[in-house]
Symmetry: C2
Subunit: 331 residues, 2 copies
């Protein structure tokens, strides 16, 4: 039973009505007599008709599709956010087009360009940093945009974020409470969120009367290997605790530490920063700041639907609550 494009005309012919009527029943328009509606439905079933979304998009200027740009699909962090986006999107009958940007400014530009040319109804942008060119691109379009886990310094773009500053502050404070010498490990300081973390870290130190030591801040760490390589450095500096924003790094450090005979949490305490599945799988499981990743995605998408449907939006800069989940890597 090979399909050959059957159109709205075919259905109209079989049902003995005009194509306009068919279009109405397909789109659930109320102004159709029940009897003719049934005729049309029968014809649709008989012909196995399927509306052409492309033609529909051209005529209606709506594609019911949203574009999602994320650095990489293989990161559990972004995957969790994407999942939240996806669930809410399908709840609102939007399809999702995903594109990897590899955290590369040029690719981000291309990807957004491609979304726009595909006439997506909205865009969710994930990415640790927001370059000036990408920002301009996003600001300059009519297509609604929401940043998920990315900060627009000028607050012109809608965004959903976690209170990184406070999260860092609290995690640091928690470690200081047990009298630890605490290091802070994060990604690039070119990312606004990491700058916020730094500030939170420093505030907690200050409050506890501990002098800030630049040598205890490790920047630019994203990978498991980074974490492993960090172990010896920390030991050498007599550090005995660390807050680590990227989970992969935290697990790397944890494992390397243990291989070197350092007991966690007895000799060394760790707080991870994202509460991805990794933190639960590690041994011992990692105490972690719980960034509500799924919610971050879900809320972002929900916000985007409001923008797309031109609903009233009271506040377009949202901050989600986080918490610290105690597991076995802290006392």
């Amino acid at each position: 039973m090979v399909e050959s494009t059957t159109t709205i005309y075919d259905v109209a012919r079989v049902a003995g009505v005009s194509m306009a009527t068919v279009s109405r029943v397909v789109n659930g328009n109320a102004n159709v007599k029940e009897k003719t509606r049934q005729k049309v439905l029968d014809a649709i079933a008989e012909l196995d008709y399927r509306p052409n979304a492309i033609a529909r998009g051209l005529a209606s200027k709506r594609t019911t599709t949203v574009g999602v740009v994320l650095p990489t699909i293989t990161s559990p962090y972004f995957a969790a956010i994407a999942r939240g986006i996806d669930d809410v999107a399908s709840m609102y009958n939007y399809n999702v087009v995903l594109a990897n940007s590899d955290n590369d400014e040029e690719k981000e530009g291309k990807v957004i360009e491609s979304f726009l040319s595909k006439q997506v109804d909205g865009i969710v942008f994930m990415g640790s940093s927001l370059s000036e060119s990408v920002r301009n691109q996003l600001v300059g379009t009519r297509t609604p945009v929401v940043l998920a886990g990315a900060i627009d310094g000028d607050k012109e773009l809608a965004s959903v974020n976690i209170d990184y500053h406070k999260a860092a502050y609290e995690a640091t404070k928690k470690l200081l409470k047990t009298g630890k010498k605490v290091a802070y490990v994060l990604g690039s300081l070119n990312d606004a969120e990491n700058v916020e973390r730094m500030v939170g870290y420093q505030e907690a130190l200050e409050e506890a009367g501990v002098k800030f030591d630049e040598a205890l801040v490790f920047e630019g760490n994203y990978s498991y290997e980074n974490g492993r390589n960090l172990a010896q450095h920390l030991i050498d500096k007599n550090v005995n605790s660390a807050v680590i924003s990227v989970d992969d790094v935290a697990v790397g450090l944890l494992n390397s530490l243990q291989e070197k005979g350092v007991k966690v949490p007895t000799d060394f305490e760790i707080i991870a920063g994202s509460n991805s599945a990794l933190t639960q799988y590690s041994f011992p499981a990692l105490t972690s700041v719980n960034q509500p990743l799924y919610d971050l995605g879900a809320v972002s998408m929900r916000l985007l639907t409001k923008l797309m449907l031109k609903e009233e939006v009271a506040e377009s800069q949202l901050i989600l609550d986080h918490e610290i989940i105690n597991r076995r890597s802290t006392k």
Copy 2:
């Protein structure tokens, strides 16, 4: 600088040529004088013109888009495959539309339906099992389809797979070599791939003269928690090694085992089945069958491009090589 849809006509007007010519330069058609091409390019730049992919798709009946259905984006296993798909897709200038199916037959159907109505040029299907209805749906369409890591018993659909049978056989054999009592932990036996694994397991036992014991096969395990719950069962049965097809389960078992004081690999050896990042992050790192996931995706997508471009395809049932990567969970 708010955009308002500028069309090919606007460009034509500004450049002082016909829209057909504009279309030609946009599509890289050779039959355009260099001078006029330049005029057009200038006009495009001046107007910030961007081709409307929807209109293009309607007119050309090609969308340069492929649909990818996967159970869940948050699984590292599928994410790795998806990454391979994505990379090759963009290499061939295709965009990727991802959709979660949650391994639910009904959702799979809907998702495919939506892809078809969106006029995707091709579909990559991932999913542990292939239901009859979905199979019919896929077979009955003109749109090229490739199964990635899923088996079509009738070999009607193109597919790319790993030799699950052999992988299970080799892993089991390896454990038997050190004289272990080996359990086999896998997902649902409704999935063809798992049946293949079972057979491989049994063959290895037989070859070693070990009697097959049904009680040592654990079916339907997919999650980290499943793995944790398994630990005591295995200990009670005096099992001292296991091949585990799902990495999450393997890590769960590993951790639970160690919490109970069982030393890995001294007292218990584990071979994981997918070599996802998890196996490298765990402590100790897990020896694992290396399913070339990224390649699986990449090859699937490559095969799909051939199908879409109607190139000659010698063999449409591909099997990729695997290997066993020795880490710290085996001796």
